[in-house]
Amino acid sequence: MKRGYTLIWLIPLILAISLLPVIAHSVIYRETIFLILMYITLAVSLNIILGYTGYVSFGHIVFYGIGGYTSFYLMYRFGVHLILAMIMGGILSAIIALIVGEAVLRLRGAIFAIATIGINEAIKSLVTNLQFLGGATGMFFNFKIYKTYGGAAKAIWFAYWIMVVVTIICLLTSYFIKNSKFGYGLFSIREDEDAAVVLGVNTKRFKSIAFAISAFFPGLVGAIFFFKAGNIEPDDAFHLVKSIEMIFMVMLGGFGTVSGPPIGALLYERLKGILLINPLFKNLHMAITGFILLIIILFAPGGIVGWFRNRFKKLRSLLE
């Protein structure tokens, strides 16, 4: 199979962006770029199940919440190190995805979407009622926890670099899946699941693995985000709107492509930033997001990358 050149510009670009706050000595840059990296990881991981496999996981944020809660609880109660807690959070998200996926991945199309919304809401209300997880008010870190990392200021930088590493691993995973036999299997499921079965693709296992991988990374992201925030509550961790934001970024960039979701995430973060700062548009950003989404769905279903790929054939090896 012929490999393209997407990674040659994408990875250096991400690294360059990540180094910006160090070069500029700016905490504001760090916060913005942390969010961008977080969005990129969320979008890229959702793309594996949504874009590659064609299953609309509408409640995908549930895995971010599960990872966040697992690692937060481990750090809060047992003082586990962030890296270990994060990996445990990711693994638990993936395991839950495997179990849940075993059942819900039998559903197709819109019914699957509704089921994932149901799962998110069910887990959210369950967590709201579990007293050992802090119930509806959630949990707060004691500042002592940051001492392991050399104080709160250093802990935040530490979280930032972990986020950079996770983002790059996630991008590499997404790239290598797309260019592997496994990835072709997923695409065949997206195009025609019944035909894929006939061709000898073990669709059931392929879907489950894809779902687990796309749940693993949001678990990691949730762990880092809530470590940095210092508190976690159900409404933050299982916010359905965040799910929609993830889908929006994938659709804006171009679903099913490697470079689309990162571009979509970058643009969405900037768009949101600009709209939220402007006093006139501050309260209108939701309406504007909706309007852009509608335009994309109606007129450019392939997103930005899809549009460029159609228009300029020579760019195809650069924009996978």
């Binding site: 609309v56 979407a113 369950l126 997001t289 509608l294």
Partner: protein
């Protein structure tokens, strides 16, 4: 004993409201096979129409409902051509997202114009009490209106030519076209009726509960559960699903902590989807 009777009575009344709220979603899902994620936004729009008709035109929500029906029909048919017509044959992701973007636009503009402050309509009808159980008259009226709209919708779908055409299109679009049905008109009409029903539900709910622009999403999520419980494409199914959910919420609340009820509801949703994706009660 009194607690039980009270719970069952308010469960039935609440269930009728839920049923009405789900009917629009049910019709659209059943007829044009689109899960309308802007359903909640249109319920909220109905609530605000009732609010403004009450405060500026002095219309009681139970009278304003006729006006809201017409407004909903027009907006809904318009929304079909703007957001849905182009993507109807595309993969389901497109219709989910196009209706969701409608919802973002409506709620976004609504938040901008009306803010998220809670509002309420107080028509002051008082309540009637029998043997120590008091029920507000507005709740009884809302329940009666729900039954009334179910009957009207049923008669429309089963006794009129247009209604039969809607059901024909939902069964087989091309066969219906051969019989001289204008399928584009029928599809847009179905979406319009679905939206009108959502707005009517919002208008009636506004008469009994306080609300904000974001209130619709609660009813939307419950409507998914109801559609799955009651089966698709029949007004009666929606009403039955609503009654089950209303009774469940009120009767379970006597025995288990209220906080767990949403968990149980959504587990029911997921389990039914897994066991029988077409809904619990289906004809045909």
């Amino acid at each position: 004993m009194e607690a039980w009777i009270g719970a069952i009575l308010s469960g039935i009344l609440l269930g009728l409201v839920y049923g009405l709220a789900a009917m629009g979603l049910n019709l659209i899902w059943g007829v044009i096979n689109v899960i309308n994620l802007s359903h909640g936004a249109f319920i909220a729009l109905g609530m605000f129409s009732a609010y403004f008709l009450f405060h500026f035109a002095g219309l009681n929500p139970f009278i304003a409902v006729a006006l809201v029906l017409i407004i909903g029909l027009i907006i809904g048919m318009g929304a079909y051509f703007v957001a849905l017509h182009r993507v109807l044959d595309a993969p389901e992701l497109s219709t989910l997202l196009s209706t969701y973007s409608l919802s973002l636009i409506i709620i976004g503009l609504g938040t901008f114009i009306f803010t998220t402050n809670p509002r309420a309509i107080d028509i002051g009808l008082g309540s009637i009490g029998v043997a120590g159980i008091y029920i507000p008259i507005s709740k009884i009226l809302t329940g009666l209106f729900s039954v009334l709209f179910t009957v009207i919708l049923y008669l429309f779908l089963y006794k009129t030519w247009t209604g039969k055409a809607i059901r024909a299109v939902s069964m087989n679009k091309s066969a219906a076209e051969f019989m001289g049905v204008n399928s584009i008109f029928i599809l847009s009409l179905s979406f319009g009726i679905g939206i009108a029903l959502a707005m009517i539900a919002g208008c009636l709910i506004a008469a009994i509960f306080p609300f904000t622009i974001l209130s619709g999403s609660v009813y939307e999520l419950k409507s998914f559960v109801i559609c799955v419980l009651g089966g698709l494409g029949s007004p009666l199914g929606a009403l039955i699903g609503g009654l089950i959910l209303g009774l469940l919420e009120n009767v379970f609340a006597l025995k288990i902590p209220v906080g767990y009820i949403p968990f149980i509801e959504f587990m029911i949703l997921v389990i039914i989807l897994l066991v029988k994706p077409t809904g619990l009660i289906t004809k045909r």
